[in-house]
Each structure stands twice: as structure tokens, then as C-alpha cells.
Amino acid sequence: MKTKEEISSAELDRLFSSLGDSTRRQILTKVRSNPCNVLRLAAEFNMSLPAVSKHIKILSEAGLITKKKEGRFIYCSYNHNTMKPAMDWISQLHNLWNKSFDRLANYMKDKSKKK
């Protein structure tokens, strides 16, 4: 079980709320396979540069993408590590029940033997 220091509630909130927008999810899908520059993203999503930059800023603040300047262009790439705390949290909940049910099965066996 992780503590607050290891899995920040605020970080998770930021992560999930940044994904509550379909354009941002599409941007993530796009940069997941290959880093992509901001101009190209604006063209691909038929958006103005300020509009796409705003989405990128939100994704970047949530840690879902990393920005890197190369020459005149800013490239965005998907940050796989950010998803890990969320996955860990769900795994913990899953394990709580799964392992408990393993013990419950043994407990019920013992209980019926005693009768």
C-alpha cells in the first residue's frame, strides 16, 4: 500500500482531469507512438497554435507529455512513467480483494472441516 508521499492524490487528480478532454486524448494517442512537433499537431487537429499549445500545457503539467526543443521546433513525447502511480493504485485495490478472497476460500475450507 502506498503512502501519500509515493502516490499523490493531487497528482492523480491532475492526471485524470487532464484526460477528461477528447482533444487531449487524441493528442496523447498521436504522440504516444512518435514525438510530434507543436506546429504539426496544430495542423493535424485543425487548431490554432495557441489552442493546441493550451492543451499541450495541460498535458505537460499533468506529466503526461514531455516537451523538448529541437532547433526551431518544440517536440512533444508521451511520458509512460506518469501512468504508473494510477496503475499501482488500481492494482492495490484489486489485490486487497483478490488476496483476501484467497484467504477466505481457505478459511471456509477450514471452517467446514471443523464442523
Partner: protein, 151 residues
């Protein structure tokens, strides 16, 4: 928030137990029995207090090396003997808190086998702050990923 409102399911588990449904159901509602099997991996059961009536509370303390480090607590919302159990679940005090969960456990029986279907979903605090859309999307993705990972 009305507890009958359903959110996105975080966890869905189905299990069969080679025993009648009655003792299986009772093992959820007796503190003495519950502490024999309910705990997160790596934790020892400490003090368990259960008041298994609708509106009653439960509180389970867990230890590591004899020291209290975690509490799981909640309120019973529905108790339909040998059929259904609904309660809230939250961690206290120092574990990630992204919202209170609602746990629904349905019991059924076929011959000498009892079956449990468990669904756990977020039902408080996240929706209150209008973040449902993002969470729901994420959780559906996470659930899919987890299913693959845990298979």
C-alpha cells in the same frame, strides 16, 4: 450523494467457493471471522469493529510489525441476507485518497458452491468536484489494462 448512484466500476471480481452461501455471507459480517481473511497483502489484521446494520459503521485496523499503519472503514448501505451486501470503503489516514468507494457484493448459490460477484466503484468526492469524465475515461482504460496485466 445518493449511494444508489453508480460510478464507473474500478474492480470487478467473480469467485466461487466450495461451501454453502450462508456461512460465506456470515464471514463478511462477523468481526471475528472477517479479520481472519480480510486484509491488504503484507498487512496483519489488528482491531476490527463491525456494526452490520444498514447505516452502521465498520472499521478495520491493520498492522505492520505490530504497529498500526492503516485503517479501512466504511458504512453499510444495504444488507440483504445471503444475497447482497453494499458498503462504502475508504482508507484512513495516510494512504492515497482519491475518493470513497462503494463496494457491492452479490451472493448466489448453486448446489454446494457459493458465488460472489464484487464490484467496486468510486462514488464520492471525485464527482463532487466535477472530474467524473476524466476519471471514468481513465478508469475504463486502466481496468482494461489491468485485466490484461493480471491475466
Amino acid at each position: 450523494m445518493d449511494t444508489t448512484e453508480t460510478g464507473k466500476t474500478l474492480i470487478h471480481l467473480e469467485r466461487d467457493f466450495p461451501c454453502p452461501v450462508e456461512p460465506l455471507f456470515e464471514s463478511f459480517l462477523s468481526a471475528e471471522e472477517f479479520r481472519n481473511w480480510f486484509s491488504p497483502p503484507g498487512f496483519e489484521a489488528g482491531s476490527f469493529m463491525l456494526d452490520p446494520v444498514v447505516g452502521g459503521k465498520y472499521r478495520c485496523d491493520f498492522l505492520k510489525q505490530g504497529k498500526h499503519v492503516l485503517t479501512i472503514k466504511g458504512i453499510y448501505k444495504e444488507i440483504e441476507r445471503y444475497k447482497k451486501l453494499v458498503f462504502t470503503l475508504e482508507y484512513d489516514p495516510d494512504v492515497s485518497e482519491i475518493g470513497e468507494c462503494k463496494v457491492t457484493i452479490s451472493f448466489s448459490s448453486k448446489g454446494n458452491t457459493a458465488s460472489i460477484v464484487l464490484n467496486q466503484e468510486i462514488f464520492k468526492s471525485i464527482e463532487a468536484e466535477g472530474r467524473t469524465k476524466g476519471w471514468n475515461y481513465m478508469f475504463s482504460r486502466l481496468e482494461d489494462n489491468l485485466i490484461k496485466k493480471l491475466k
